[in-house]
């Protein structure tokens, strides 16, 4: 069995990113969108770690910790927003928020 190389990790990260983006774009549920965003962030993390391993540098790994912290904060705010939306219209369908335009 061949040891996974950087290319494999990057392909996996790209796939994950694509799935996440598709989820964000296609799903109407706010929870699902947050999940998609989470997937995209972690795809990025995976790529960072992979390149860090290739270059033998810790910079990429340190960066991942920052991304995780920011993602946690983002989810906290995002869920709070979803709670507010749910209270407003008993659903978390983001398309129905289009009434807030002009």
């Amino acid at each position: 069995m061949m040891a996974p190389s950087t290319v494999h990790f990057v392909i996996l990260a790209a796939l994950l990113f694509g799935i996440g983006a598709a989820g964000v774009l296609l799903r109407r549920s706010g929870i699902a969108i947050l999940l998609g965003i989470e997937l995209m962030l972690n795809a990025g993390n995976l790529a960072l770690v992979a390149f860090a391993r290739q270059h033998g540098s810790l910079d990429g790994q340190v960066f991942v910790f920052f991304v995780m912290a920011v993602a946690a904060a983002e989810v906290a705010v995002g869920l709070a927003l979803l709670v507010a939306i749910f209270r407003k219209q008993q659903a978390i369908d983001v398309d129905r928020l289009a009434i807030m335009r002009w």
């Binding site: 983006a21 964000v24 774009l25 296609l26 109407r28 969108i33 983001v94 398309d95 928020l97 289009a98 009434i99 807030m100 335009r101 002009w102």
Partner: protein, 647 residues
């Protein structure tokens, strides 16, 4: 003592600041104490400075306070210069100024406390500005004072600003003066460009060091300076503001519009006489403008019925004499006339103020008459000052006016710069003007003080002599109108002309070469000018005195109605300016407002805003409100950016 020179200016400035700050709280007594006190202290310091300066013959003392502008090798100091010329001005400005402050405490007493304080604040500020003008050691400091007196003049002419015409008169004075100031400013720029300095002494040295440049630049600089003088000293064609300036309180007319500020133009010409001396053309222009103004204003004075207007036109006319003298190269004679004129004209104005005060604000001489029985002190002082103005011997005006006429005649006879004929004509105009002066002044005296009172029994009942604070300045100025002429007796030769000997080091003047008046001719000239003055007085007596007073002039007016109306309406100069300059300017301003500003400039801005709004209206449809739509755009943008970076 000499290093206290700055205190002369500091006192009036401090007085003005204190009065402006306390205007709402001060009583009449406090205001008078501060206002008069500041000027009085200034006078005392000035006298002390002059006393310690007296021993130094023609020396120039400069006091530098601090460096005002320093740019490269150009620097301007706030510096004051005491030399014979500024010493003369310093003396009479502080002296006459102090007397007029004292007089004002009586004249303005009926004003409410706030207006009273405002009045004295402006008056003190004027003293500061005038002294800055007089003592400034370079053209810029002089200009600061020049603008300062203009500002105070504006404020005081419009003192009764609740009345429309007073406010308009102030505005007119300011605008007309600005025209002159523009010329003055250009002259300063030109002096700086040509010689790299605006300092009097520096400029004089630079012009002496480079005669070729001096000869090239003297005429334009001198002519532009003269434009400034024409505005400030009310000469043709910018004299129109001075008669209107009579809208201000009468002591203001005496101080600013007779004794001091309006003579600033003459002073400035004498101050820069080293420039004028190099330019025959400029001298000729100065003399011609002065001579024409002297006669022109005198003829208008013949038909005025407002006592202050008569004096105003008389002032314009006398300023014309001063410029005529300066234009003949006799700067000391011009300053001598400034000096004597300050005394007798201030006395006349204050006397007219006393008369107006007694008549309850009436200024029309047709409603006066017989006042000599009611106000003896005012009558006698007015008479003395009138005799001085008319040029009757032993009174001050005789010596100074005769000195000017003699110098102009000498310039004519000696063919100065080859313009002898012009100077002779000007001399003739001067003599004619002397006749007119004597006539219109005695017309005023007879109409005001002789005959019977024509203002109605009600007003007659109120006639009274003015209080002591008003009468004593009159007496002192009248005494001055008698004695100050003796410092400049030209007839016995230069040895007795103390005034000219004193001023000679700073304003040497232009000598007429190769011609000297013999004693017989000199006596003849004096006899002629005294003769025309006496003739003018006798004619005025024939016209306006006795049982048929006013009958002959009335008949003349009916015989030549058109001529009379032209003169009485001041040759329609104001109407002409109105039609030729004021109204076209107003129309242009209106057009610029309604056309250029509203349509073009506002139009550009409004249409810019309009198109921005339209663009926004269209672009907001991009915002669907659909979150996933936005996410798609972000993704698209990110992909596009990545693609652009990679490919």
């Amino acid at each position: 003592m000499l290093n206290l020179l700055w205190l002369v200016l500091a006192f009036p400035l401090a007085g003005a600041v204190v009065l402006l700050a306390g205007a709402r709280r001060f009583t009449h007594r406090t205001t008078a104490a501060v206002g008069v006190g500041a000027t009085g202290l200034s006078l005392l310091v000035a006298l002390g400075v002059l006393a310690s300066y007296a021993g130094r013959h023609g020396e120039v003392v400069t006091q530098t306070l601090y460096r005002w502008i320093a740019a490269g090798d150009f620097s301007v100091e706030v510096a004051f210069r005491l030399d014979p010329l500024s010493a003369v001005m310093l003396f009479f400005v502080t002296f006459v100024g102090f007397l007029i402050h004292v007089y004002s405490t009586g004249y303005m007493h009926d004003e409410p406390p706030t207006a009273f304080a405002r009045y004295f604040a402006y008056l003190n500020l004027f003293m500061f500005a005038m002294l800055t003008l007089v003592l400034g050691a370079n053209l810029l400091v002089l200009f600061v004072g020049w603008e300062g007196v203009g500002l105070c003049s504006y404020l005081l002419i419009g003192f009764y600003f609740e009345k429309d015409w007073c406010a308009a008169a102030g505005k007119k004075a300011f605008v007309v003066n600005r025209i002159g100031d523009f010329g003055f400013l250009l002259a300063i720029f030109m002096a700086f460009k040509a010689f790299g300095t605006v300092d009097m002494a520096g400029l004089q040295a630079a012009m002496a060091a480079d005669p070729a440049a001096a000869a090239r630049w003297a005429t334009p600089i001198a002519l532009l300076l003269f434009v400034g003088a024409v505005g400030k000293s009310a000469q043709l064609p910018l004299y129109v503001w001075l008669p209107d300036a009579m809208a201000g309180p009468t002591p203001v007319s005496a101080l600013i519009h007779a004794a001091t500020m309006v003579t600033a133009g003459v002073y400035m010409v004498a101050r820069t006489s080293f420039v004028y001396a190099l330019s025959p053309t400029a001298l000729l222009v100065v003399a011609v403008v002065g001579g024409l103004t002297a006669v022109f204003a005198a003829t208008i004075g013949l038909a005025q019925n407002d006592i202050k207007k008569v004096l105003a036109y008389s002032t314009v006319s006398q300023l014309g004499y001063m410029f005529m003298g300066a234009g003949a190269g006799a700067f000391t004679a011009a300053i001598f006339h400034v000096f004597t004129h300050a005394f007798f004209k201030a006395c006349l104005f204050l006397g007219s103020g006393s008369v107006i005060h007694a008549c309850g604000g009436e200024q029309d001489m047709r409603k006066m008459g017989g006042l000599r029985h009611h106000m003896k002190a005012t009558y006698w002082t007015f008479l003395v000052a009138t005799l001085a103005l008319a040029g009757i011997p032993v009174f001050a005006g005789f010596f100074s006016k005769d000195e000017i006429l003699a110098k102009v005649f000498a310039a004519g006879a000696g063919n100065l710069h080859g313009y002898g004929k012009v100077y002779l004509v000007l001399w003739g105009l001067g003599v004619a003007g002397a006749f007119l002066t004597a006539f219109y002044m005695f017309r005023a005296v007879y109409m005001t003080f002789f005959g019977s009172f024509r203002g109605g029994p009600e007003a007659e009942h109120h006639l009274h002599e003015s209080p002591g604070v008003m009468v004593w300045p009159l007496r002192i100025l009248a005494a001055g109108s008698v004695v100050v002429g003796f410092v400049g007796i030209g007839f016995f030769g230069p040895r007795f002309n103390l005034f000219e000997r004193f001023l000679h080091p700073v304003a040497p003047g232009v000598e007429v070469e190769g011609w000297h008046a013999g004693p017989a001719l000199e006596v003849g000239l004096i006899a002629l000018s005294v003769g025309v003055a006496v003739a003018g007085i006798l004619l005025a007596r024939r016209f306006y005195f006795g049982p048929d007073a006013g009958a002959i002039p009335a008949r003349l007016a009916t015989a030549w109605p058109r001529l009379y109306r032209t003169v009485a309406n001041k040759y329609w100069v104001d109407e002409g300016y109105d039609a030729a300059i004021v109204r076209p300017t107003n129309r242009l301003a209106w057009w610029l407002w309604k056309g250029l500003d509203t349509v073009v400039i506002d139009g550009v801005l409004v249409s810019l805003a309009f198109f921005t709004e339209i663009a926004g209206d269209l672009l907001r449809f991009v915002q669907t409100g659909n979150v996933r739509n936005y996410a798609l755009m972000v993704l698209g943008g990110a992909v596009a950016a990545a693609a652009w970076l990679l490919l």
